[in-house]
Amino acid sequence: MSTLLDVKDLRVSFPTRTGVVEAVRGVSFTLGRERLGIVGESGSGKSQTGRAIMGLTPEHGRISAEKLEFNGIDLTRASKAERRALRGKRIAMILQDPKYSLNPVMSIGRQIIETLRTHEPVGRAEARRRALDMLAAVQIRDPERVFGLYPHEVSGGMGQRAMIAMMLVAGPELLIADEPTSALDVTVQLDVLGILHRLVADRGMGLIFISHDLRLVSSFCDRVIVMYAGRIVEELPASRLSEAEHPYTRGLLNCMPKIGVDRHPLPVLDRRPEWAL
């Protein structure tokens, strides 16, 4: 399996008035054309890991890494222009809530075309055709109609499909999905995941799926990384989640209520200071 992404000792920190906050503290992993889940609770550094790879760390944040390589390109040395050329074209990102991540004053079709024409020299008619094809690929029943709609005119599930269409239209090799279904209703969640699953498989993309939901991630991904306080505490194949060894992973799995299992009170996580060392 060829390596798409190679991350070694990635660190992201933010200077604040009260000292330096280390959001990511030495994360290492490699990714091939597979689905990798990154799981953790708020503040575990999972989103900042994704953003650092994408090149979207806030201006004042400091990134250091022994190695941050995408397809042989050293991302730590890449200029802003080089990062821009990669972003959207070869590495794409889906964010949590389509309400905030789509441009509210631009129709959905134009936003998809904008992405495409930024990265490829295609004509108007060709761009429109490809945008419509992409909308059809995310199972939007009437692409012509949705093409002309504005983000506030569509539901959350539809908005997230449009977001996926926009991110995949330029044919990226790596897709980072940061909580792509957390803002959606459960039944819609499954539809969107199904679409994502098929597109990632068909196009042979690498996927990093960032989520707080351990169960969801393990049902969707091939491999899972569990993060706590900016570090990876455990890495395991998704199918062997039940054999997780780290007490944090086990605690996370246990503390969720399950239908048909009567446990009162629920087991709670006993956080150990040594996990964060």
Partner: protein, 249 residues
């Protein structure tokens, strides 16, 4: 035995939009009742209508045998308390925890406010050291505990819970759910709990109602749901969805 809460043919209409249509339910004293549905199903609207935060267009709401009018008396606002979803939005950002807890006591003319505040904080597992903090100095779980303390400090008999844990991390959710169960047992409270998460509702509630498009789909016991004894297709699809993603081939 009179029901703690009885709702009959309740409708809520905003201009032309019917948010809730002809919904009826009864909750016995000390029972924990769940409302499940997706966004726009009317589950929160039902709770807000009971609390007096949404206009009742038709139907009746009865609390402890007393029908509620358009204007509720002060005793109602003591007896029925609500906990909201967003712990960041439901606490006053410029008031200390002490001030937040004092306000309801002052409104309802309770005495011994000093000892009540200390006791309330203790009951939700926050020590006295939290008393003079502002809400931005607390984590999400701690804020939700303060919101629960604020609801309990008036010694209500009914607690309306609108997605009380959906903004929290899974491990914090477990702690807050345990706290809620514990205070319900200790104070013999009646719960009406709204959630989009079937697992949370079946864990917390004895009976539940599934809602869709402002209407009741079905009412059933949590045990029946767990055993897949459901009659409606919509409930079944929610149940399947809550089991997580399955790769087909």
């Amino acid at each position: 035995m009179t029901a703690a809460l009885a709702i009959d043919g309740l409708s809520v209409v905003f201009d032309d939009f019917v948010a809730l249509q002809d919904v009826s339910l009864t909750v016995a004293p000390g029972e924990s009742f769940g409302l499940v549905g997706e966004s726009g199903s009317g589950k929160s609207t039902l709770l807000r209508a009971v609390a007096g935060l949404a206009p009742v267009s038709d139907g009746t709401i009865t609390v402890d045998g007393k029908p509620l009018g358009d204007k509720r008396d002060k005793a109602f606002y003591r007896q029925v308390q609500m906990v909201f979803q967003d712990p960041y939005g439901s606490l006053h950002p410029r008031q200390t925890v002490d001030r937040l807890l004092l306000e309801p006591l002052a409104i309802h003319g309770f005495d011994n406010s000093e000892s009540r505040i200390v006791r309330a904080l203790d009951e939700v597992g926050l020590g006295a050291s939290f008393r003079f903090r502002y809400s931005h100095q607390l984590s999400g779980g701690q804020r939700q505990r303060v919101a629960i303390a604020r609801a309990l400090i008036l010694e209500p008999s009914i607690l309306l819970l609108d997605e009380p844990t959906s903004a929290l991390d899974a491990s914090v959710q477990a702690e807050v759910l345990n706290l809620l169960e514990q205070v319900r047992a200790a104070r013999k409270l009646t719960f009406v709990m709204v959630s989009h998460d079937l697992a949370v509702v079946t864990h917390m509630c004895d009976r539940l109602m599934v809602m869709q498009h402002g209407q009741a789909v079905e009412q059933l016991a949590s045990a029946d749901l767990a055993a897949h004894r459901v009659t409606q297709d919509y409930t079944r699809s929610l149940l399947t969805a809550s089991e997580g993603f399955r790769r087909n081939g």
